[in-house]
Symmetry: C2
DNA sequence: TCGTTATTTCGCTAAATACCAAAATAACAA
DNA sequence: TTGTTATTTTGGTATTTAGCGAAATAACGA
């Protein structure tokens, strides 16, 4: 879970995730909108992938990133377990 | 929200929060259990306070830390808003 | 094989963070 | 005022992270 919270702690990465909410995007598209170098962005993608927050689909030389929504439940459960005094079923 | 996710990204700080789940504790008590210097711990407390995840109660020279459970809902709402494709009410 | 295109890896610097021990501070009791 | 106790601040080093441009890689089409 460290990976997930670490990924979410960066404003840039949260912005990337918000962009992916609407639709899947390529690294190039995201790079254009964010005014951040492609190599820097590549590092952010690694962090997001390590946290399993995004999934990739490579077509030619183009890699499309999309949100891995299945992690949402895990994150929610973790937050509840971490900060709630009562058990989840209460 | 950066502050909250940043606070949660540290294993040490998550452990502190878990300890506070059971009962409120002083900085000294936590320091004993964690084998981490008091000055270092003081820094971690500042991070947790900046994220509004803990509240303090000073009696004499002793400061007792306890979990600020009211933030839980905020964190959950943020995660949902950040990662869910559908609106919360759907 | 030779380009072309999209992305990553590779140095590199600057800024942020974690950690410690020692000194400083705060809040009293005597 | 002096001493005691709990915590914070300070000063220091070491590690991590974000950022860049340039070079390297991958996956083709011609």
């Amino acid at each position: 879970m460290s990976d997930v919270f670490n990924a979410l702690s960066s404003p840039v990465r949260r912005q990337i995730l918000s962009m992916l909410k609407t639709r899947a995007m390529t690294a190039g598209e995201i790079s254009e909108k964010l005014d951040i170098g492609k190599s820097t962005l590549s590092g952010h993608f690694n962090v997001l992938k390590a946290a399993d927050l995004v999934v990739t689909d490579k077509v030619r030389t183009t890699i499309t990133y999309s949100l891995n929504t299945s992690v949402v439940e895990d994150v929610l459960a973790s937050v509840v377990g971490l900060l709630s005094k009562n058990k989840p079923e209460d």
